[in-house]
Subunit: 455 residues, 2 copies
C-alpha cells in the first residue's frame, strides 16, 4: 500500500476517508499525520485549538490502527469544542477558572463518537462557556483579520482550514451555524435534544444543542447516522424540479446586509432555474417578538445554569457575564414562563406553516465574517431556529470571485433531520460554493493580513 | 462549650443545625460524628449508601471547622444521590459499568452546595441510572422488608433514618416524591430546571429535575435559598382560614389504595376544620392521557440519553433497560413531538386552573411502601406533576397508630416554589405527621423483619 501524500489526506472529507479507513486501505496514523502537518503549518495563525498534543493523537491513531472492530467513523479525526467533556483531555471552557481542568469523563456525544471509532483529536477554542465573556483566540482561516464566528470558533476554523475533517460545536443562539457561514463549511444543528447534551457545559437547557461541522452534506449525514437521528415521518425525496422550498427571511431580515440579500436572491434564482418551487413564508404576528422570547429563555435559564460559577468565583467573573446573568436580572420568572409558552405555540405554528415544504431556506448570518475578534457577529438569523428546536443545515453558497464565504440555512420541522439532509444533498450542487471557497489553500505569508487588535 | 450527645445531634434538622454551626456554638466534627455513629449503628440494615468513607467525612468536617467563611449550609451533612457527579467521590449510578467511576468534577448543584458550606457526606444508593435495571440495595428504615421507594432510595432512607439531615435526589417520574412518602420525610421537587441539572445523569431532559429531602419544611426552604429559587409572582400568604386549596386526585386516582384515599380524606377534614377552603379540581379531557404523554417523553428522550451506553456496553445492559429503551422502540419521533406539544398545552391549562388556589393537594403515592425491593412502587401519582414542570412538596401526614408513613403532595404552578414552601409551612402542622413517625427510632433486632428475597 502506497501511503497517499500528507496534503491530500488532510483535504479529504470524512465521507471520503471513512470507507478507506474502515477497509484498511488507509492507515489512521497517516491521516493523523496529515492533519498534524496541516496544523503545524497553519495553526500558529488560525489558533483553532485550546488543547492538542501530537503525541497523544499519534498514540490514539496507532491504537485505532491495531483495533479489530471498525466503526463507521473509524480513525476519522474529530475536533471537540472545549465546552464538551473529554476523559483524556482537559475541558477549559476558555475560562480562567478552569485552567487545566481535566475530569476523567466523556460527554455522552464524545463517548458515542469513540464507540464509532472516531479519533478524538483535540479541543477547539470557544467563547467562554460557549456563552459570553472571553472570546476564542481563533481567527478566520479565509481572512485572519476576521472572526470565524462564535462561540464554536475553533471547531469551525479547524474544519474550514483543513486541519480536521469533522468537529463538534454547540448552539444556544447561533453558535454553530453562524461560524459555518463565516468559515464556508457545512454544519448541522439537529433537532433539539435529538443528541444527548450530557457532559456539555449548560447555558440554556431549553436551547443548548449539540452540532457538528463537515466538508460536505455526506459528512453531516455520517455523523447523523452515528447519533442515530430518526425522523418523525418517512418522507420521499422528490426529484429536484418537484421540490418545494419555503423562503423565510425571518424577523431579522432588516439586519441582512447586501451579501446576505444577494445570497438569498442568487440561491432563489438558481433554484428556480432548476424548476424548484419557491414560496415566501409569512410568519404570524406571534413571531414578531421571537428574538425577545429567545433572549428571555436564554438569559432566564442562564441565571440558574451559572449559579455555581457565581457562587464560586464571585467578583472575578467577567463583567459582561456578571451584568447579563447576574446583575441585570432583567427577566422575571413570570417572563420566563410566558416565553416558554409562546415558544411552544410558535413551534406548533411553524410546523403547520412548514408542512407543505421540503425545507425552509433562510440566511445563516447577517453577512460575511466581520472584522476583528472582539465581536463574533450577530446570532439574530439563527436564534429563531434554535428556539423552534428546528434542525438546521448550513450550506456554503456560491459567491462572487474573491468574496469571503457565506452560508444559507435549510431548516425544517422537529425531527425532520434526515429529510433535511437528503434535501441539502440535492440542493448543495445548485446553490453551493465550489470547493475553492469551501477549502482554502494555505496562502503565502505576504498575503496574510495582520490581525486587527481588538478589545 | 459542652458537646451535645451524639444521638441528639443526628436527630436535629438542618434548620436546627444551621444557625448553631454558623455561629460556631456547635462543631462540624461533632455533627459529623453523630451522623457517622448513627450510620454505624443502622446502615448495615438500611443500606442507604453506595459510597461513604468516615475518614474522608472527618477530614472535610475538620476543614469546615477551620474555615473563616460560613455559608448558609455550613457543616450540614448532605447525602448525594449516586447519579450526581462529585469531584471527590465516585459516581457509580448503581451500574456495573461504572464501578469506581470517579471523574474529578462536581455537578453544578453539588458545587453550589459546597459554596454554601455543605458537608458533602457520601453517595446514596439509587436505581440504576435513576431509571430502571438494578434496584438500590436500600431498605425502608420503617420496615426493612419494604422498599424505600425509588429511584432516590438511599437519599430518602438516609434522611428518614436520621443518618443525615439533608440529601439530594432526582425525579423523572416519581423518583423523589414517592420515596419521601414511603419514608415519611419532607421532599421538594422544584420547578423543572429552576436548579441546574448539569452533572446529573440524564434520562429525560424535559423531565429530569433535581430534588431534595429534609426533616421539615424549613429544611426544604434552606436548600431553596441556596439554590436561589425565585417565584414568578410575589403572592401574599393569607392566614390559614383564608387559604384556598385545590384537591386534585389526578387521573391515577383509581389506583389509590385505602391508605391514600384515607389520607386525602383525613387531610381534607383537618383542613376544613381549620377553615381552609377546599375545592375539587376537574381536569379537562386533554389530561386523560397525561400518563401516556409522560411515558412517551420519558422513553422517547431516554433512547437518546442512553445511546452511548448502548453503543459502549451493548448486550451487557440489563434486559429491562434494553427492552424499554432500545428494543421496543414503541414510540416514534412523531409521538414524541405530539407529546411535547400536548405537555406544553397542559402546562398552560393547569396553571389557569390552579390560579385561584394557594396550592393543589394531591397524593404522593398510591399507598404505603410496598413489600420487597424488586419494585420501588408506582410513580403514577407523581408523573403528571413532573410533566407539568410543577413544583411539588411532600408532607408526611398523620397516620393511625402503628401505620407506615405516607405523604401528600402540595403542587403549584411553575415558579411558585416559594409560595408553595410558605403554604407547606402553614399546612404541615394541620395535616403533618408527628415526629415519632417522621423520625424512626432504632428498633430492637427482634422486631426487624427479614428482607424478602426479590428477583
Amino acid at each position: 500500500m502506497k501511503p497517499a501524500g500528507a496534503e491530500d489526506l488532510a483535504c479529504l472529507s470524512a465521507s471520503d476517508l471513512a470507507p478507506r479507513l474502515r477497509e484498511r486501505t488507509l492507515r489512521v496514523v497517516d491521516v493523523a499525520e496529515a492533519c498534524l502537518a496541516r496544523i503545524a503549518a497553519r495553526d500558529e495563525e488560525v489558533r483553532a485549538w485550546s488543547y492538542l498534543r501530537p503525541e497523544q493523537v499519534r498514540a490514539e491513531a496507532r491504537r485505532l490502527d491495531a483495533a479489530e472492530v471498525r466503526g463507521p467513523l473509524h480513525g476519522i479525526p474529530v475536533g471537540i469544542k472545549d465546552v464538551i467533556l473529554t476523559k483524556d483531555m482537559p475541558t477549559q471552557y476558555n475560562s480562567p477558572f478552569y485552567d487545566n481542568f481535566a475530569p476523567a469523563i466523556d460527554a455522552a456525544c464524545v463517548a458515542t463518537l469513540r464507540a464509532a471509532g472516531a479519533l478524538i483529536f483535540g479541543k477547539c477554542d470557544t467563547v467562554e462557556f460557549a456563552a459570553m465573556g472571553r472570546r476564542a483566540r481563533t481567527r478566520n482561516p479565509h481572512d485572519l483579520a476576521r472572526t470565524p464566528g462564535g462561540s464554536s470558533s475553533g471547531s469551525a476554523a479547524a474544519v474550514a482550514d483543513l486541519q480536521v475533517p469533522l468537529a463538534l460545536g454547540t448552539q444556544t443562539g447561533g453558535s454553530a451555524i453562524r461560524p459555518a457561514s463565516f468559515c464556508g463549511i457545512y454544519a448541522m444543528k439537529p433537532t433539539w435534544n435529538a443528541v444527548s447534551r450530557e457532559g456539555l457545559k449548560m447555558y440554556s437547557a431549553s436551547l443548548d444543542t449539540l452540532a457538528w461541522y463537515g466538508r460536505c452534506v455526506g459528512d453531516l449525514a455520517l455523523v447523523a447516522d452515528v447519533f442515530a437521528l430518526e425522523d418523525a415521518e418517512a418522507r420521499a425525496l422528490p426529484p429536484l424540479q418537484q421540490l418545494r422550498i419555503g423562503l423565510c427571511p425571518t424577523p431579522a431580515w432588516p439586519q441582512a446586509d447586501a451579501a446576505t440579500v444577494d445570497a438569498m436572491a442568487s440561491a432563489s434564482t438558481a433554484l428556480t432555474g432548476f424548476g424548484v418551487t419557491l414560496e415566501e413564508i409569512v410568519l404570524p404576528p406571534l413571531f414578531d417578538d421571537i428574538l425577545a422570547v429567545h433572549d428571555t429563555i436564554m438569559i432566564g435559564e442562564g441565571v440558574g445554569a451559572f449559579l455555581s460559577e457565581f457562587r464560586l468565583f464571585g467578583e472575578a467573573i467577567a463583567p459582561e457575564f456578571r451584568r447579563r446573568l447576574h446583575d441585570d436580572n432583567r427577566y422575571s420568572r413570570a417572563d420566563l414562563v410566558r416565553a416558554y409558552d409562546i415558544a411552544a405555540q410558535c413551534r406548533v405554528l411553524f410546523e403547520q406553516i412548514a408542512a407543505p415544504f421540503d425545507a425552509i431556506l433562510t440566511p445563516s448570518s447577517a453577512g460575511e465574517a466581520t472584522l476583528g475578534l472582539a465581536s463574533t457577529g450577530s446570532a439574530n438569523f439563527n436564534r429563531m431556529w434554535t428556539l423552534l428546536h428546528a434542525p438546521c443545515i448550513n450550506i456554503p453558497v456560491a459567491r462572487p470571485a474573491g468574496a469571503l464565504p457565506l452560508g444559507l440555512t435549510l431548516a425544517g420541522p422537529r425531527y425532520a433531520d434526515r429529510h433535511l439532509l437528503a434535501v441539502a444533498e440535492r440542493l448543495a450542487p445548485v446553490i453551493g460554493a465550489d470547493r475553492s471557497i469551501a477549502f482554502p489553500e494555505a496562502r503565502p505569508a505576504d498575503r496574510r493580513r495582520d490581525e486587527r487588535q481588538t478589545g
